[in-house]
């Protein structure tokens, strides 16, 4: 049988490795859950996150990422680019609801939580799409929804790449719908 020191050592090893195992086990962005959340709330407002932002696009994108179990990162300074969290409407990071700050957050974690992509073809359901127009900063956020049947927009009823979003609430429209030709994109793939 095991001696007492060996038992203590074994217990220590188990206790020490448990958090690591737990973190590793929790890794893996749940794209199905993210997509389901986007489908549920693309035309509505989840009361938990309904903080009255005049433009809700980034708030909605953050909710989708959160539904996919991308871990929140809380810190003291809400405008610190490395952080991203929501506890309540009064305890929330800037990156949760502000597009340029979220873009800076994605850049900060590029290669760890997100990976910048050159085309929509590399994205998966639940990935962020940010955009910018002449005369403006990175000012709009949407969710890539994968391929499927467009529910509305110019390709309604057709099979294509899709996106959903808030501000102008859209559910499963063709990914390029209503983006004029001079619009730039930042495409982020969640690699957590």
């Amino acid at each position: 049988m095991l001696t007492k020191p060996l038992k203590v050592l074994l217990a220590c090893v188990v206790l020490l490795t448990l958090p690591v195992v737990s973190v590793v086990a929790n890794r893996g962005y749940n794209r199905g859950a993210a997509r389901n959340y986007a489908d549920t709330w693309c035309k509505g407002r989840n009361p938990t996150y309904n903080c009255g932002y005049s433009n809700d696009c980034q708030n909605f994108l953050s909710q989708v990422l959160n539904a996919g179990a991308l871990p929140q990162l809380k810190c003291a300074d809400k405008w610190n680019n490395s952080c991203w969290w929501f506890t309540s409407c009064s305890d929330v990071s800037g990156s949760w609801y502000n597009v340029p700050t979220f873009n800076a957050h994605a850049q900060y974690w590029n290669g760890v939580r997100f990976a910048m992509q050159s085309s929509f073809y590399y994205l998966g359901a639940g990935d962020p799409i940010l955009s910018r127009s002449p005369g403006g900063s990175w000012n709009h956020a949407a969710v890539y929804m994968g391929e499927g049947m467009a529910q509305e927009g110019t390709k309604a009823g057709q099979y294509c790449q899709l996106r959903s979003q808030h501000t102008t609430d859209r559910c499963r429209v063709w990914v390029l719908d209503y983006y004029p030709p001079d619009t730039q994109f930042q495409l982020w793939k969640v690699i957590w």
């Binding site: 910048m116 910018r132 127009s133 005369g135 102008t168 001079d182 994109f185």
Partner: protein, 218 residues
Amino acid sequence: MKRKPFLVIGLAMIGALLVLGFEAKSALHSEAHIPSVLEIKVSDMSQEERTIASAIIEAYRQLEYATLTFDTSKLSTAFVDDLRFHLPDELRREVEIAFNNAPDKVGYLTYMEAWYNNWERGANLLEETWEKAQKEGKEIGLDDLKLLEEELGFIPAFRRTDPMPPEWEDWFRFYNIDFHEDVAVCLYDDGGRLWRAFLVKKAEGWYIANRILLEIHY
């Protein structure tokens, strides 16, 4: 008996507050949420208004060409520098980054050329960095992006390779077109954004001399 005048005054005040209150609110949002009934149908436009609508749509054809090729040589067929329309500082900065200076005479044409010039430079560097990282079996890192941003002076974006869908011209809505001698002011929506555009008349036709972004609703 004496209560009746107070009741009338009170009701009048409540009514006034309701009307003024709603008017104040709608004034704040009037440009952001323009009812479709206010759209000017092309069939109802005067000949001159139709010319303005055509000039704007033609400008977007040139924007699409510039987006897909980064060739800005055709933008001057749709946009113009006009000293009456000064570039705001943030737009002037884009010109400075692109051409290393922004003389007083620059206007919206130069700004749009700068927009594509910077986009092309950023896309090329980004692609180089991305390909290098992919060859090494990794993603672009934070340090790579920081270096790019320091070198460029802005956050780069990849090029767009997909042409606009055939129906994109149907996205346009024109709400108001006013003429002031050789200047036309047009409130229009391109499907994703609400703009106030200022066009100036030249011998060859109308050119966009400025655009102010009012709302985004892609």
